[in-house]
């Protein structure tokens, strides 16, 4: 019974931790089908003020404003791409956590592929160099063949 007291205390403390209070605002939609899109957008768009948070995580006033703006634009039947473009013309590409492929970002998008290809190349080259030594083909003539047979026979007899 006494063990319960510290546990209850822990639960109580946890329930008041900032995590529980993170962005608990209620968003109302005329059509519930907009909600998953809203969730996707606020998670994929970046808070311009707080650098390393998305709009969903941030409680800064600018994020609150932008969340409200996204809700408004969704209600206006804008597509996800239109909403992203709308914010991009105002806040620049910085706001997109998933940047588009263009001349500034091709290196970013391309480097994982390049690294994988480079790894493959190294593996292939390495294998090609190692393989022959493992399965080396030794030409054997009939004399060698006889000697080998004799050796094997000796070994059999010794057992």
């Amino acid at each position: 019974m006494t063990a319960l007291a510290p546990m209850t205390l822990c639960l109580l403390i946890l329930s008041f931790s900032p995590l529980t209070f993170a962005v608990a605002e209620i968003v109302e939609f005329s059509d519930e089908s907009l909600r998953p899109r809203y969730q996707q957008l606020v998670e994929e768009l970046r808070c311009p003020k707080c650098q390393n948070q998305n709009l969903a995580d941030s409680n800064s006033p600018i994020s609150q404003d932008l969340r409200r703006e996204i809700q408004r634009l969704l209600e206006q039947q804008m597509t996800d791409q239109q909403i992203k473009d709308y914010l991009k013309t105002r806040y620049s590409e910085f706001i997109l956590y998933r940047p588009e492929v263009n001349k500034n970002t091709w290196l970013l998008w391309g480097s994982p592929i390049a690294v994988v290809l480079m790894g493959l190349l190294i593996v292939v080259r390495h294998n090609r160099r190692v393989k022959p030594s493992l399965t080396r083909h030794v030409p054997v003539d009939s004399r060698d063949q006889q000697r080998l047979a004799a050796m094997l026979r000796d070994e059999e007899n010794q057992r």
Partner: protein
């Protein structure tokens, strides 16, 4: 194996270090500006001094001017204000964008600290702020006579920033006359 090939990892590492080293010099809080070279966004908002007076983008055309985003809750604006008073005294036209503020406290602020603004746009909801991509007051835009944004500064404009970023462009746009 070609001995030179052994240096490939070292060269790659040196290249990466150089890129990262250059990155250290950049201010990560500075966003690339999407609106430089673009016309000032359209708006229709009341004036701070007079609720019934409507201001639109037409009101900021015809002259080279600064648009200064400020608010009474913005601490850095306090530091910036004397510089704006200075510029205004030198004949620079400044239009204020009072951003997400209370009308009464903004008016008191101007009465207490001096009013460097030709006129103030009262943007209580921050709608023009979103159209401009404002993410932190103070911000200052240099707009030419055609209403095109030529430069943007996020943060305080002081003597140093004015000389480094604005003054030359301003002189050029105004043709030296003030």
């Amino acid at each position: 194996m070609n001995r030179l090939a052994l240096f490939v990892p070292l060269v790659l590492f040196a290249g990466l270090s150089l890129v990262l080293l250059l990155g250290l010099d950049k201010d990560p809080s500075e966003l690339p500006s999407a609106l430089v070279g673009e016309p000032f966004p359209a708006f229709n908002l009341p004036a701070l001094s007079d609720e019934s007076r409507r201001l639109t983008e037409q009101d900021i055309k015809g002259d080279v001017m600064l648009i200064n985003v400020w608010a009474t809750w913005c601490f850095a604006c306090r530091i910036e204000h004397p510089m704006l008073n200075n510029l205004s005294a030198q004949g620079v036209k400044i239009v204020g964008l009072n951003y997400k503020d209370q009308r009464a406290s903004a008016q008191t602020w101007l009465a207490d600290r001096g009013d460097p603004y030709v006129v103030n746009i009262f943007d209580a909801q921050g709608s023009l702020g979103i159209d401009l991509g404002v993410y932190g007051a103070p911000e200052t835009y240099l707009v030419d006579a055609q209403g095109i944004i030529r430069h943007r500064r996020v943060g305080v404009v002081d003597e140093r920033v004015w000389n480094a970023e604005f003054s030359e462009l301003y002189e050029r746009l105004t043709g030296g006359k003030q």
